[in-house]
Symmetry: C2
Subunit: 329 residues, 2 copies
Amino acid sequence: MRPPALTIPLAAALAAASATAQAPASPAPPPAPSEIVGKASAADWIAIAPSDLMVMELAPASGGKARRVVIQLMPAPVAGPHVGNVRALAKAHWWDGTSINRVQDNYVVQWGDATEKKALPEGLAAVPEAAYEMPIPADYAALLAQVSTRGFVPPSPPRLPPDYGDPYADFAGFLGGFPIAGQLGSGSPGSLWPVHCYAMVGVGRDMSPNTGTGAELYTVIGHAPRHLDRNIALVGRVIEGIEHLTSLPRGTGALGFYEKPAERVTIRSVRLASEMPPAADLKFQQLSTDSDSFEAYAIARANRRDPFFIKPAGGADICNVPVPVRRAP
Amino acid sequence: MRPPALTIPLAAALAAASATAQAPASPAPPPAPSEIVGKASAADWIAIAPSDLMVMELAPASGGKARRVVIQLMPAPVAGPHVGNVRALAKAHWWDGTSINRVQDNYVVQWGDATEKKALPEGLAAVPEAAYEMPIPADYAALLAQVSTRGFVPPSPPRLPPDYGDPYADFAGFLGGFPIAGQLGSGSPGSLWPVHCYAMVGVGRDMSPNTGTGAELYTVIGHAPRHLDRNIALVGRVIEGIEHLTSLPRGTGALGFYEKPAERVTIRSVRLASEMPPAADLKFQQLSTDSDSFEAYAIARANRRDPFFIKPAGGADICNVPVPVRRAP
C-alpha cells in the first residue's frame, strides 16, 4: 500500500505516468487545479505591492524558531476605510508589544492590546457601518449582466460556469484578487462586499453601531463564518505563516480568550513591507483573478477530474476556490 | 471599550438585559442560535449510543496534560460499510501505538500506522466505490417532495426555508443527526451522501478504485473540502477534543506529512465507549435534527438577528449549521 493521501501522492503520480507510458494512446489525465496554477504564464501573475503587505513577527516559538505572519491588505476597489486605519497603526508601530489574545477553534485567532488601555494614534477614521458594503463598480456590473444571477462571476469574458451558487448573496465572485459576494440592485448599481473565507483578516468590534478602529484584528481559522459578512469589516488575508496562528493552543475562556496573561503570544512587531529593508525578502505574487488560468483553475476546483477523483462535484462555494498566492520566482 | 468580540460577550449580554430592564416595553432581542439550543427541551436531545462513540487517547502533551478525542460514528441510515471496519479495528485495539502522521493546514489531520506494515485484523469488508452514496430512504424522499429542490431539507413538517442552496448537490440537509447532500433521481429514488464539514472523520485511501480499509483516518480542520464528497468515505465526526488535533504543528512534508518520526504524536489507545468502564464518563447527546428546536436553530444560523448582528444573511451553507452536541446534563 502506498502512503495514504487525500490528494495525489508523488508515488501515485509516478505510477500514473508509468501507466500512460505503457498505453501511449491514452490521453493525459485532466490536470489538478495545482497543475493548472503551476503552468500559468508569468503574465498571469501579479506582483503584490509591498505597501499592501503587512508583516507580523511573533515572539519565537519554544526552541527559538521565528514565527512570521504575512498579511496582504485589500487593495482598491475592494478596500474599505478600515484598511487606511490598519496602515496607520502599522506605521505607528502600534502593535509592537501587543499580543495574540484569543484562539477559538473553528472560528478565529484575534490579536491586539490585551490591556485595552494603549492609546491609539491620532487621525484614525471613524468608519460607518455603511462601509461594510460598496456600490458595484460599473465595469463589474457589465460583467454581471453577462452571466446569470445567483452564481459566480467568472473572469472576462464570462463563459458558462459550473454551479457557484451562494446561499448568502445574489452572486459571488472575485474582484481585485479577493473573494466577494453581492446583491443586485433594482434601479441601482447594487452592492458587493468581501467575504469571510479561511485566512481572511477582519476588524474586531464592540456592539453595533461600533465598527472597530482596526486595532483589534482577527483571522478566520475554520469553516467560513459567512454570517459575519456585512457585519464586520474585512481588511485583507493571511498569505504566509498562518500555521503560526492556527496551531496555537485554543483559549479556554469565553469565546476562546486566553485566561492567563502567560498564555498570550507576544507580537514583537508589525510593519508594512514597504518600510522594511529589501533583505526582508518579501516579494509575493497572486494569480490574476481576471486571467484565463484562474478561470481554468476555478472550473477545475468545481470539477475535480484529476486521477484521485471519481465524481466531480459540478460546483464549488466561493471559499473553496482560494486565490493562488506565491513567492515571486 | 469592552473586550472586542465577534459574538456577544457576557458584558454586552448583561448590558442588553439592563437596557431591557430600563425600557420594559421593548421586545426582547431575537435569540442567538446558542440561546435557542440552550432552551431546547430535554425531549429534543437524543442520547448518543456508547457503541457509536470512539475514544482516542493521545500521548499526554508536554506538561502531562491528557489529550482525549471523542469521535461519534455515523449511525444507520447514513453509515456505510466502512463504519463496521472502524468498529472492528477499535475492538481489535488496532490503533494502539500508531500515530498522528499528517497535519495539513486548512485541510486534514490524519492518523494510522506510519510504517504501513502493521497487519490488519481479519474480516474487514472490502468496500466498493458505490458505497460512497446511498439511495434516498422513502420517508426522506417524502420530505424532499414537500420542499423545493436545490435547497435545504428542514425537519418535518417542512416550512418555507431560508436559502440553503448547495452548489455541490441538488439538495443539502440533515439525516440521523448528520449533514448530508444528495441528488434527485428521475424515475429512481435518487441518492444521498454525508458531506465533508469541519470535524467530519473520513477514511484515507489510495488511488481509485481503492476505497481504503478504515485503518487510515482523517478529520477536516479547515474550510469544508466538499469536493471530497462521494470520493472518500466518511464514518463520523469529532465531537470533543478536536483542539488536540487542530493545534498540532503543521507537517512540513508533502501534503502536510510529518517528515521526522519524532514529530508524530503517539496514539495510546482507541476504544469504543461501550467497551470502557462507566467511570470514563462518556455520556453525550445531540440535538435531534428532526426537532422544532433544530429548525429554529438552523433558521437563526441563516438569519442572525441577535444584537451583535446588523445584516442577517438570509441563508447558510450546510457546514455553517453545525449539529449541536453536548455532554448529558
